[in-house]
Amino acid sequence: MLYRLWYYSRETFVSLWRNLSLTMAAILTVAISLSLVGSSLLIREGAARATAQFQEGVEFIVFMRADATLEQDTAIRTVLDTSPAITRYTYVDKEAAYVEFQQLFSDKPELVESVTAEIMPPSYRIVPANPETGNVAEMARQFGEQPGVKEVATATDAIRQIEDFSNRVSQALLVAAVVLVGVSALLILNTVFTAIGARRQEIEVMKLVGATNWFIRIPFMLEGTIHGLIGAALAVPALFVVDHRVLAYFQESDAVPLFRGFAVPDGFVWDTSIWLLVIGGVVGMIGSAVAVTRYLDV
C-alpha cells in the first residue's frame, strides 16, 4: 500500500516536472481565476458589511446621545410612531449596537476593547414613506435639531452609488472569474492530455501486462488535481493582499465615514480560501478526468 502511494506520487511528480511550461501555465491560470473569484466574494462581503445598517429600505439613522434622558427618547419615539411620513423603524439599543460593532470590527480587537456597551449610542433605523433624497435630507435635519439626538446619518447618494459600484465590480469580477475557471479547466485538460501523450509507450505496456484501469488513471488524475490545488494555494496570499491593501484603502479614506465598515475580517478571508482550495481541486479533478476518459483508452 505504502509502495503504491510512493509509486503514484513519483509518477505524478515526474510527469509534472517533465511538462513544466504547461504545468506552470495551468497553475497560474488557476491562481489568477481563483484570485478573482475570491476578490469578488471579498468585495461583496465588504459592501454588505459597510452598508449593513442601511439594508432593507433604511434611509436614515437617528443616533441618540448615550446620556439622552428618557423624556427625550420618548419624544422621538412618539414622532416616529405617529408621523405618516415614517413607514416603519427599528430601535437598536446599546447592547445590540455593541454586538454589531463587535461584528463589524471583529478583526480589530483593540478597537472593540476600547468601547463598552455603555458608551454605544442607541439608534433608530428609519424607513421613510418617501425615500427621495431631498425629503430624506429635510427629515434628517429636523430630527437632528431635537434634544438628545447626537447625529443623523443618511444613506446618501454617494453611499448608494458605492454600494451599486461594488455590486457591479464584484459581478464583473465574478463573470471574468467564471470564464477563467473554464479556461483553467481546459488548460489542465490539455496539460494532462500532453502528459498522456508523453507516456503513450508506458501506458501501452501497462495495459498489456495487466495494470488495472484505475492504476493507469490515478497518476494523471492526481496531476490535474495538484494543478488546481497549487493554483488555489497561490490565490490565498493574493486574497490577503486584496483584503489588506485594496479594501484597507477604502477604509482609510475619510470621504465616506461609513466605509470604515468596509473591513472583511481575516476569518472570512480564511473561509474564502478554503472554498478556493475546494474549487481548485474540483476544477483540476474535472479537467483531468475529462482528459483521462477522452484520451486514455482504457
Binding site: 509502495y3 503504491r4 509509486y7 509507450q201 508506458e202 501501452e204 505496456v205 501497462m206 495495459k207 498489456l208 501486462v209 495487466g210 495494470a211 488495472t212 484501469n213 492504476f215 493507469i216
Partner: protein, 225 residues
C-alpha cells in the same frame, strides 16, 4: 487452456481477418501460427488477449470466456498472459532491470517480490550482467530477451509471441527460440506467430496455418508448409 469455437473477425471495410476459426490448445503446448502477411495471425493473437473482440464465435482462455468478460476483468486476464512483440516495446529511459520490474510494479506487486523475481528472471534470460544498461545499449537479441523477461516475470500461464524473431538475424533467433523452448518446458503454453520457415521446420511443433483468415492446416509436429 485456449479454445476457439467458430470465431470470426471482420475489420472495417469488410477486411476479413478470421473466418469461422476453431482450435483447441492444451496446457503446455507450443503452437506456431504461420501464413502470409494479412492471413490473420496477429488477429488470432490479439483476440486471445482481448485487444480485439470477436464478431462471432466464442473464445475461452484459462477457463474464462474472453468475449463476454466485463472490461474491468481484462487486466486480470492479461496478468495470466505474457506478450512478446517483434519490436520489443521496451521503455527507452528505463534500464533493463527497471523495464522488467515495471511489469510487476504496475500490477501492484510488492517491492520485495520485485527485488526477488527480477534478478531471477534476468538470470534465466542471461542478462544478469547487463541489468543496469539502457535498451539502446543492447543488441536486438538482448532487447528481445529483456522483453521476454518482462513478459515472463509474473509467471503467466500463456506466452503470446507476435513475430518475436522478425527483426533478428538467424543466429540470434536460435537463441531466442531456445529461451522460449525452455519457458515452454516449464509448463507455459506458447503461441507464436512467425514467418520464419527455418525455425518452424527445425522445432517440429504444432503448426496452425492461416490463409486469408481461414485455418487451412493444423498438425502436430508440423513444418512451415
Amino acid at each position: 487452456m485456449i479454445r476457439l469455437d467458430g470465431v470470426s473477425k471482420v475489420y472495417k471495410g469488410d477486411v476479413v481477418a478470421l473466418r469461422n476459426a476453431s482450435a483447441e490448445i492444451q496446457r503446455g503446448e507450443f503452437v506456431f501460427l504461420v501464413g502470409p502477411s494479412g492471413s490473420g495471425k496477429s488477429t488470432f493473437i490479439r483476440l486471445l488477449n482481448r485487444e480485439e473482440i470477436a464478431d462471432e464465435g466464442r473464445i475461452t482462455v484459462a477457463g474464462k470466456d474472453v468475449g463476454e468478460m466485463s472490461s474491468w476483468k481484462v487486466p486480470y486476464l492479461r496478468r495470466q498472459i505474457g506478450y512478446i512483440f517483434q519490436d520489443y516495446k521496451l521503455l527507452p529511459k528505463k534500464t533493463v532491470f527497471e523495464n522488467v520490474a515495471f511489469g510487476l510494479e504496475v500490477i501492484g506487486r510488492p517491492r520485495q517480490v520485485v527485488r526477488k523475481q527480477v534478478p531471477a528472471i534476468l538470470e534465466l534470460v542471461g542478462l544478469s550482467r547487463k541489468a543496469e544498461r539502457l535498451p539502446d545499449e543492447l543488441s536486438g537479441g538482448e532487447q528481445q530477451r529483456v522483453s521476454i523477461a518482462r513478459a515472463f516475470v509474473n509467471r503467466p500461464l500463456i506466452l503470446l509471441a507476435d513475430e518475436p524473431t522478425g527483426n533478428l538475424d538467424p543466429g540470434t533467433s536460435v537463441g531466442i527460440m531456445r529461451l522460449l523452448d525452455r519457458i515452454n518446458r516449464s509448463g507455459t503454453t506458447v503461441v507464436m506467430a512467425t514467418h520464419d520457415r527455418g525455425i518452424v521446420d527445425s522445432m517440429r511443433r504444432r503448426v496452425i496455418e492461416l490463409d486469408r483468415g481461414v485455418i487451412k492446416r493444423d498438425e502436430s509436429q508440423g513444418v512451415y508448409e
